[in-house]
Amino acid sequence: MKKALVSMAALAAVLFAGIALAQSRSAVGEVEAMRELMRGFKPSGQAGLSRLVQDEVQQFCSDPGWQRNKARIAAIEGQQLAAVKYPADGKLMGNWKAGESIAQSGVGKQFSDNPSQPSGANCYACHQLTPQELSFGTIGPSLRNFGKTRGSSEAIQRYTYAKIYNSRAYSVCTNMPRFGHSEILTEQQIKDVVALLLDPESPVNK
């Protein structure tokens, strides 16, 4: 209980400090109200209250009018791209079969999930990929023939890796999670998903 109070105070401080800089009084009031509202959540399983503390990008993209701020968009995308960590061994493509099972799995990071189990990427929730999987979502574009149409050059591999690692590097307020940046997937898992998309042997490209 004490711990919860402390983290609540920390959360309040962060939320407040983050936005109070040079804002109008009414905006401060709004921040205050939002902070109050966040008391409506409690930590559960692996999901602590720190998850409610927004980073700069989340905060920017929570404003439905974000598209108007062209300068910020370019600046944030640049920052996000600069922070992408590529694999130290220089290899960007893993195993497409492992990538397929990662793409299928929707578990991970929910308070109901076992944190010792690896997270999935849940690609099929939003994207079409292989022709065999008919149960796919349409929130994101179809990735069918992703590698077939783009090839698998070093540049394409780097782009694909970075896009999965941090999609905001290319589209600041995309719906897609930042799988590397937010530590949802491991480096090896991202390589495997890159292979699912780019390997000529992958059913995505057949």
Binding site: L37, G40, P43, R51, S62, S135, G137
Partner: protein, 272 residues
């Protein structure tokens, strides 16, 4: 559009008709068949089992004070149940807050029946073999608004504030996945896997979505309240746990309920 060469999963063959379409005809017939399935469930919705249990619970003297809920004011005066759900959430003077149905029921269980808040909220969502009293009460009260037009007011300043905060929460991105409600519910004609997603920023979808909760969820065999709907959305959003009846939950409900104004309430419904 591509055609599937070898649909390996026979069970999904027809569902696939929705996506690939072996022609407009098959698309239409699949959609029609699924609609027939959904229609077939309407007669004999197990939600009625929760409704009769909830009605009984409403009328029976319960709690340390051994009184019924029949003096509970859901906004239309003590004991008035008919049409009450279609006007909630609303501001209540006695609690000095905006309440939705569930938080109001907790208030009545505490103030009338003498339960502690902890007792009243001990089991708010049912699980296998253990239905929740709260969901039965919700089923009963909401069923008494069937056919009533949604009419949620923004008359009191606190109601307007709740709506605005609910709207902010709807667009609030957070957690490891950067998800907001709007991530999945902000555009027309989107699906997650094969599941259609309502665009809660459009009037038509918002109306249809809100007026069909609470619902009997076939996959869980449970009657699910709107509080449960929000709780489970935030779980999948990778947020911490939404507290039952919290200001956040009521504000978001206010935003969604108000956007459904004008549509006839049609729940408890049944959903796959």
């Amino acid at each position: 559009m591509t055609r599937p060469h070898k649909p390996v999963v026979a069970a999904l063959l027809f569902a696939a008709g929705l996506l690939f379409g072996t022609g407009a005809h098959s698309q239409d017939s699949t959609a029609k068949a699924l609609q027939e399935y959904r229609d077939a469930l309407q007669d004999g919705n197990p939600a009625e089992l929760w409704e009769i249990k909830g009605e009984d619970m409403w009328q029976q003297p319960r709690g340390p004070n051994k009184v019924s809920m029949e003096k509970c004011d859901l906004g239309l005066g003590p004991g008035v149940v008919k049409g009450a759900y279609a006007r909630l959430p609303k501001y209540f003077k006695d609690t000095d807050r905006v309440d939705d149905l569930e938080s109001r029921l907790v208030h009545c269980m505490v103030s009338l029946q003498g339960y502690t808040r902890a007792e009243a909220t001990r089991r708010v969502f049912g699980g296998p073999g253990a239905a929740a009293d709260m969901e039965a009460l919700v089923a009963y009260v909401s069923s008494q608004s069937k056919g009533v037009k949604m009419n949620v007011a923004l008359a009191h300043p606190r109601e307007r504030e709740a709506y605005q905060m609910g709207q902010k929460l709807f667009y609030y991105r957070g957690g490891p996945h950067d998800f907001a409600c709007a991530t999945c519910h902000g555009e027309d004609n989107k699906r997650i896997r094969l599941q259609d997603l309502p665009n809660l920023t459009s009037k038509k979808d918002a109306q249809r979505a809100y007026t069909t909760w609470p619902a009997y969820r076939v996959s869980q065999g449970e009657l699910r309240s709107f509080q449960w709907r929000l709780y489970d959305c935030f779980r999948q959003q990778r947020f911490p746990e939404l507290l039952f009846g919290s200001d956040a939950s009521v504000a978001l409900t206010m935003f969604l309920a108000r956007n459904a104004n004008g549509a006839a309430f049609a729940a408890p419904a049944i959903k796959r």
